[in-house]
Symmetry: none
Subunit: 189 residues, 4 copies
């Protein structure tokens, strides 16, 4: 990936892509993204040599943001349930606060365009979570499953929860509580 100077433009492109991908999906034309970023069609390809590159970078960019939101306020010294709850709320609240980002992320996640490599890089963005999850659910039936499975369950529950919370804002708090209960009671023996 060439590294042309203006980081500003790079971010403008990623933000534009977030919006367009969220609303139109992976099939979003690069020209539309460029226009929304206030950048010429050609310039997009100076920052991201390929549309697929753009999508992969976008995936990382969004994951990054999400992860930062999740660790915020995380206290290694807190009791285990508290730590789990912090992560849970960090995740769910981020999704509610950034619906387009969340939607774009979902579109990217199911698309075949995100490479293994990108997924690997994404995992490294948040090594803490790995560790935390391990500690959180070190006992019980789940302990024997891979951490990937636990993460996936966590996310599946959180995704569902944020979806409903976003749709019915008045019930948001209730959904979040209910979702966390499923997670906790289900995963801890």
């Amino acid at each position: 990936m060439a590294r042309p100077r203006s980081e500003e433009k790079q971010i403008a492109l990623l933000e534009a892509a977030t919006e367009v991908v969220a609303s139109v999906g992976i099939g979003a034309p690069t020209s539309v993204i460029a226009k929304k970023a206030d950048v010429s069609e050609g310039t997009l390809f100076r920052y991201f040599p390929t549309k697929d590159d753009l999508l992969n970078e976008l995936y990382l960019y969004l994951k990054q943001d999400l992860c930062e939101a999740m660790i915020e306020g995380f206290d290694r010294a807190a009791p285990i349930k508290e730590r789990a709850r912090t992560l849970w709320y960090g995740y769910v609240d981020w999704g509610i606060a950034h619906p387009t980002a969340k939607n774009a992320l979902r579109q990217l996640s199911v698309s075949e365009k995100i490479t293994e490599k990108t997924q690997a890089r994404a995992a490294k963005l948040f090594p803490d979570m790995e560790a935390v999850a391990k500690i959180c659910v070190g006992k019980g039936l789940m302990a024997k499953r891979s951490s990937a499975f636990r993460d996936a369950i966590f996310m599946a529950l959180a995704d569902t929860t944020m979806e409903f919370a976003a749709n019915e804002p008045k019930e948001a708090e209730a959904y979040k509580t209910a979702g966390f209960k499923v997670l906790w009671d289900g995963m801890i023996e």
Copy 2:
């Protein structure tokens, strides 16, 4: 009098579409689908006037199959946990047995192409599940949430479970058990 329209071809098209959508996603070219179904491009449009129509029909076709698999062996008289388990295994096992179908269904589910109308028709395919789910989790915290939320949680967990079970067939049984535990312990108070 003329050659009768063959259901065979319609199914060939749906099966072909399943495979192609599973591997390429919603953007799958109709030409590829037609070729895989061993049918001319024009014929595809005789059976499905529009690509979107094809996708919507495919969604119903797959949901239908899934639902049949789920109710199989369902016994209204069985104890509640047994009924839940039947549905759970029906769902998860179908996904493991038909990975491309399951994948295609996921692609369709997140795409904006599936109309409200289609979703309504799909819901009618499986009224039992509604009822069952209501009975299963009539108590506890979840009782206060909408049944849609419970369904969504069910599916989210099952999707995740089948994903892992399909990837590591040797561990399949363990994943299924673990997944069901999360569902049951999490949802029942």
Copy 3:
């Protein structure tokens, strides 16, 4: 051209074609014409081996109708101006009475699909007119021009006249009178 039995169907097809061509133009799908004629798609091609054949036959069919309308009430013994007027009103009134037929005819006339041969056959449909026109304008400047030119002028004026008369029915009579005046005063020295 094969001559399958039912003349009824042949006419149904021509009538259907008239309507469809009038409203959609030469590009009208044969399938639409067949459906409007209450005949199968394949059958159309038993009556007219080719779409172009259908269009050419349609041209003749409409011209025939028009010509019959024109000669009606024609009196060889009447004074020359009267004869011209009869033709004029025959033509213009036909156009007003059968707007779709007239429109279809116009579409066909400008299309490149009508062959020389068809045009020749059309000319023979109405040999009288030839003769009449010759007599009508045997003197003056026009006498030296080809009869084809006179016919064309006649039709150009009549087409224009019927167009306006059809659009403003209340003024129809006035347009017809005005149009005939141009023809007569212009062509007779």
Copy 4:
């Protein structure tokens, strides 16, 4: 900064379209037009977003050319018959000199593709004609008809005349004289 959009190409496309539309009609494939203009298919759609847009622009382009030819040499101070004759010859001679343009214009005129808006824009191209026509035939029977009718008669006669003049170049002058006579004697009381 980037390559400027070349008016040259736009004109090449319009000229190509003129030829192709003249010979094949409105159904002319955009691919053929693009190739004849020595431009890629994609480029055609950069200059004219839609085939219909191309056709409408072509209509204006040709009308423009025709109108310029008509006003050339027009002298407001000349006697009325002279003014009418100038327009007449301007029109007819243009048609004879540019047979393909004339033919394309006819095809466009009868097609349903030319919008009201385009027709309005075309009318503005040549406000003089309106005025002149009014003066020319301010008296007599025609005075009571709408100017649109007079214009239409003018054009119908001129179209017919140029058709014949173009086909028999040796007789061109005679046809033009004869045609003008019909116009003049017919329209002036």
